[in-house]
């Protein structure tokens, strides 16, 4: 097989998507005028697929911090943290993040993906075991693969299945890193984290929580699902991202139980890549302050989630999970999902089209993500957009149904 046959396979996949008649993965947002509105192909749309949970991309304090940092420190660091790329802002962000999370230390990364790849591939190595949820994000799979550890999967969000698989490992549990996410990005379902903690502790394994999607939106102060459940001290390691609730880009790796700081000199994804630009660090620090005092934003976000979930359920959409900032509508086929995605765009609502192999269990999804910045009017417009889809696609009224029930 020629090296270039892979290009043919990739082209075939693109062609398959093209046959769906939409340009979902190539959709370009030409103008983003606010956290919730933009222009796609000249058309003004409500952005309901950007994971901008707290709407902080246009928060005045965050914008001002970023602008000042550009003027003061320039546009980039032009290097890695270890060589020439550690600025005072990087260190301050790590201190502030650590204080916010109550962790012993925290390491900032250039993206959330890199944080997972770096942390996981360094924590585990040859001779160790990684046990991961079957629906884990690609960055978790990549980090696990890179580690050289033996990798096992357990059934998604199933503590009993994890229990069974850890039992099979026996004494090797002491060398096992279990990895779960808090809120899963495709279906919007939440992990039974307290049960996972109990199972992991009983077997003497270690738990890494990827908190990309619940950070900022769950818990009294926004420290995520573990705070909401009161079990933060039970989690060995936590990773997260700055590109959801914090409205910028970057990631982190931290721990309450263990000092991760010494791993700085071991994590290749930290040592050999350029550090975050000063403006990104500055806006992230400003956003972190907003998150800590963001009860009103969180209340608004969850109110929006409830309303859209109720609206879509009453329209007959089959939804992937209980109300959360990610509301996935399960469609019958990739073709139907693509037609629905286009119909929503025509109605002025931008969501994400997810088709196999991008979705768990080979599902075809319309993935809507909500923001605290969505106004009541925009929330109703989103629901009206789905109503237009329902009218166009469903030949007969569907019984209101939710898949998670």
């Amino acid at each position: 097989m020629s090296l270039l046959q892979k290009l043919d396979a990739a082209r075939d996949f693109q062609d398959q998507l093209g046959q769906l008649g939409v340009n979902a993965i190539g959709a370009t947002i030409d103008v983003t005028g606010s956290a919730t509105e933009g222009k796609i192909e000249g058309k003004r749309v409500i952005l309901a697929g950007t994971n901008n949970y707290l709407g902080l991309t246009f928060d005045p304090a965050c914008i001002e911090a970023a602008a000042q940092a550009v003027r003061t420190h320039g546009t980039g660091t032009t290097g890695s943290r270890l060589a020439n790329g550690t600025y005072a802002g990087h260190a301050a962000l790590e201190r502030e993040l650590s204080a916010f999370l109550g962790t012993r230390s925290a390491i900032a990364f250039t993206t959330g993906y890199v944080a997972n790849v770096g942390a996981i591939s360094t924590l585990a190595g040859p001779g160790d075991v990684i046990m991961l949820d079957a629906d884990s994000h690609a960055s978790i799979y990549e980090g696990a693969k890179l580690s050289g550890a033996e990798i096992y999967r357990f059934r998604h969000n199933d503590p009993a299945d994890l229990d069974k698989r850890l039992r099979r490992l026996g004494d090797r549990c002491a060398r096992t890193l279990v990895i779960v996410e808090s809120l899963y990005s495709m279906l919007g379902d939440v992990a039974p984290l307290d049960q996972f903690c109990e199972v992991v502790k009983r077997h003497g394994a270690f738990l890494l929580l990827d908190d990309a999607h619940s950070f900022g939106i769950m818990g009294e102060t926004g420290r995520g699902l573990a705070e909401a459940l009161g079990i933060e001290d039970e989690i060995d390691f936590v990773t997260g991202t700055f590109s959801k609730s914090l409205g910028s880009v970057g990631g982190f790796f931290a721990s309450r139980k263990h000092d991760v700081a010494p791993l700085r000199s071991q994590i290749r994804a930290y040592m050999f890549t350029a550090s975050s630009t000063p403006s990104v660090i500055a806006s992230t620090r400003a956003a972190l302050k907003r998150v800590a005092q963001g009860q009103a934003l969180r209340s608004q976000l969850w109110k929006n989630c409830q309303r859209v979930h109720e609206g879509l359920t009453s329209l007959g959409f089959k939804l992937g999970a209980a109300p959360s900032p990610v509301i996935a509508s399960l469609m019958d086929s990739p073709e139907q999902a693509a037609a629905a995605w286009q119909a929503l765009l025509d109605a002025g609502v931008y969501v994400n089209l997810v088709v196999p192999p991008g979705a768990p269990k080979n599902l075809s999804l319309l993935r809507c993500s909500l923001s605290a910045a969505h106004t009541d009017e925009q929330v109703e417009q989103i629901i009206e957009g789905y109503a237009a889809v329902a009218q166009r696609l469903f030949d007969q009224p569907r019984a209101a149904a939710s898949a998670y029930a």
């Binding site: 079957a134 096992y152 192999p357």
Partner: protein
């Protein structure tokens, strides 16, 4: 220890239920190229086999598994 034939038979039964329309396919069948399983399907098949034989199969070894016979051999080695 479970025999190789038992492993093959179990894999054939699982595939008959999910991918080969009820028919029993030969052990030399390629799981992906001939039976059309996606990588996720292979992982789910392995999960079912792990439960059936109470073994732990690392997914790192998936790259070496192409046929039903390959998979049966690996599972047998784990029992």
């Amino acid at each position: 220890m479970i025999s190789y034939d038992e492993c093959v038979s179990e894999i054939q039964t699982l595939l008959a239920q999910s991918h080969s329309g009820g028919s029993i396919v030969p052990p030399e069948s390629d799981l992906i190229d001939e039976l059309g399983l996606a990588s996720l399907d292979v992982m789910e098949l392995i999960e079912a086999l792990e439960d059936r034989f109470d073994v732990a199969f690392p997914i790192n070894e998936l790259g070496d598994v192409r046929t039903i016979a390959d998979l049966a051999q690996r599972i047998q080695n784990l029992t």
